[in-house]
C-alpha cells in the first residue's frame, strides 16, 4: 500500500516517545485524503434501544458508516438495526462483548476503514462525542482515544465496588503505561486502523476489554489518550459487573490478565492472527 510511505505525524506529546508502529495496514495520521470512518455498536438483545442509537449516530456523525454487531440476540435486534439503516453482522451464537468488538475490527479491516469509533448499544454513550473522539485519532495525536467519565465531572457516579475496581486498575494501567488512565473500563473509544488491525490477534479478550488491553496497546507501541465524555446511566439497568461472584471473578481475572500481559513477550503490531487478512 502507498500510505505506508507517508510521513509520521510530527506533533507528539512528551509522554509517548516511541513512535507508533506504522505497518502497511496502519497509515500514519493525518491522512492526505478524507479518512473512511465507521461507528460500531456491539449489541445483545437491545431491540428497544438500538434504533435510537443508530439514528443518533447518523445525526451526530454523518460521515460515519454504522455497523451493529448482534452478538447472538434472541430478540429482533438485527432486524431493527438493519431497518434503522445500519449494516449488521450477526454472530450465530452469543460469544461475548470482546468477541463482538473483534468481529467489528475484522469487518473494518476487510472494508478498509481508517478509523473506528465503538460505543455501546444500550444508549449509555452519547453519540455527540463521536467526532471529538475521532478527531484525536485523525489528527495524529494518538492511536487510541478513550472517552473517560472522570477527567471532568460530567455527573457520573458508579457504584462503590465498580469505582474501587476502576481506581485500582486505573492506577495499575497508569503505572504500566506511564500516563494517566482514569477510566480503563470505558468502551467508548476511537481506534486507528493500526490499532484495530492489531486487535485481530488472539491476544484480544473474549469478555470486556479493560486495563489489560490498554497495557497491551502500550506495549505494542500504540499511543493511548483520554478525553472526557458524558455517559448516561444504562437505561436497561443492565450492568456488566452485577452480583456478588461476578465482581470477585472480575478482580481475579484482571489481576491475572494484567500479570500475564506484562510477562508476555512484547507483542508486535504487525503480527496478525493466522487466517486473517
Amino acid at each position: 500500500m502507498v500510505e505506508s510511505s507517508l510521513a509520521e505525524p510530527a506533533g507528539e506529546t512528551p509522554a509517548t516517545k516511541r513512535s507508533p508502529p506504522v505497518t502497511p495496514s496502519s497509515p500514519a495520521f493525518p491522512l492526505a485524503r478524507p479518512p473512511r470512518c465507521i461507528a460500531i455498536v456491539p449489541a445483545l438483545n437491545e431491540e428497544k434501544q438500538i434504533p435510537a442509537v443508530v439514528a443518533e449516530i447518523k445525526k451526530n456523525a454523518p460521515a460515519f458508516d454504522v455497523l451493529v454487531i448482534d452478538d447472538g440476540s434472541t430478540d429482533r435486534t438485527a432486524q431493527v438495526a438493519r431497518a434503522a439503516g445500519a449494516a449488521v453482522v450477526r454472530h450465530p451464537f452469543n460469544m461475548g462483548y470482546g468477541v463482538a468488538l473483534q468481529t467489528a475490527y475484522k469487518y473494518a479491516t476487510r472494508r478498509g476503514y481508517d478509523i473506528l469509533v465503538q460505543l455501546d448499544g444500550d444508549g449509555q454513550h452519547d453519540p455527540s462525542y463521536i467526532p471529538r473522539l475521532a478527531e484525536q485519532v485523525t489528527s495524529g495525536a494518538t492511536d487510541v482515544c478513550v472517552g473517560t467519565r472522570f477527567l471532568e465531572n460530567l455527573g457520573y457516579f458508579p457504584p462503590f465496588f465498580r469505582r474501587v475496581g476502576m481506581v485500582v486498575f486505573g492506577y495499575i494501567a497508569s503505572r504500566a503505561t506511564g500516563r494517566r488512565v482514569t477510566d480503563p473500563t470505558s468502551g467508548y473509544q476511537a481506534l486507528s486502523r493500526g490499532a484495530f488491525g492489531f486487535f485481530q490477534s488472539d491476544l484480544f479478550p473474549f469478555d470486556y476489554p479493560d486495563a489489560d488491553v490498554l497495557i497491551l496497546l502500550h506495549r505494542a507501541g500504540f499511543r493511548v489518550n483520554e478525553i472526557p465524555v458524558r455517559m448516561k446511566p444504562s437505561p436497561t439497568g443492565k450492568s456488566m459487573h452485577g452480583g456478588v461472584l461476578k465482581p470477585m471473578f472480575y478482580v481475579f481475572k484482571m489481576f491475572l490478565s494484567i500479570g500475564v500481559t506484562l510477562l508476555r513477550e512484547k507483542p508486535r503490531a504487525d503480527k496478525i492472527a493466522p487466517g486473517e487478512q
Binding site: A87, V89, R90, H91, P92, F93, V99, T103, R110
Partner: protein, 123 residues
C-alpha cells in the same frame, strides 16, 4: 499385595485398554486423545505386575512414606490432574478456533447479504 488383588487390577487394566482400543477402532475416540488413556491403562497394568518389595522401597525412598497405597493414590491423583489440564488446554484452543470460525461465518454472511441487496437494487 494378595494375588487376587493383583489379578483384579490386571483384569481391570486390561478391560480399560480394550475399551479404549475399541473406541478408537469405531472412531468414537480420536487417536491423538487415545494415547493418554492407553498410557493410563499401561501404568495400572504395571502396578499389578511390580513386586511388592519394589513398591514399598520406591514409596519409602522417593515419597518418604512407609505406606505404598497413599503414595500410589497421590501419584495417580497427580496424573489425573495433568490429564484434566491437558483437556483444558485443548478446550482453550478449540474455543479460539470456534470463535474465529463463527466470526468468519458472520462476516461472510454479511458479505452475501450486501451482495444480494446490491443485486436487488440493480434490478
Amino acid at each position: 499385595m494378595p494375588l487376587v488383588m493383583r489379578v483384579v487390577i490386571f483384569v481391570a487394566a486390561f478391560v480399560l485398554m480394550f475399551i479404549i482400543f475399541e473406541l478408537v477402532r469405531k472412531r468414537r475416540l480420536r487417536e491423538e486423545y487415545s494415547w493418554l488413556w492407553l498410557l493410563t491403562g499401561l501404568l495400572i497394568l504395571a502396578l499389578a505386575l511390580i513386586p511388592e518389595e519394589v513398591l514399598v522401597y520406591v514409596a519409602k525412598t522417593v515419597m518418604g512414606t512407609p505406606n505404598p497405597p497413599s503414595a500410589i493414590f497421590f501419584l495417580a491423583f497427580c496424573f489425573m490432574v495433568l490429564v484434566c489440564l491437558q483437556f483444558s488446554v485443548r478446550l482453550s484452543r478449540m474455543t479460539e478456533q470456534v470463535k474465529t470460525l463463527a466470526q468468519k461465518i458472520a462476516l461472510l454472511e454479511q458479505d452475501i447479504e450486501q451482495e444480494r441487496e446490491l443485486l436487488a437494487k440493480k434490478g
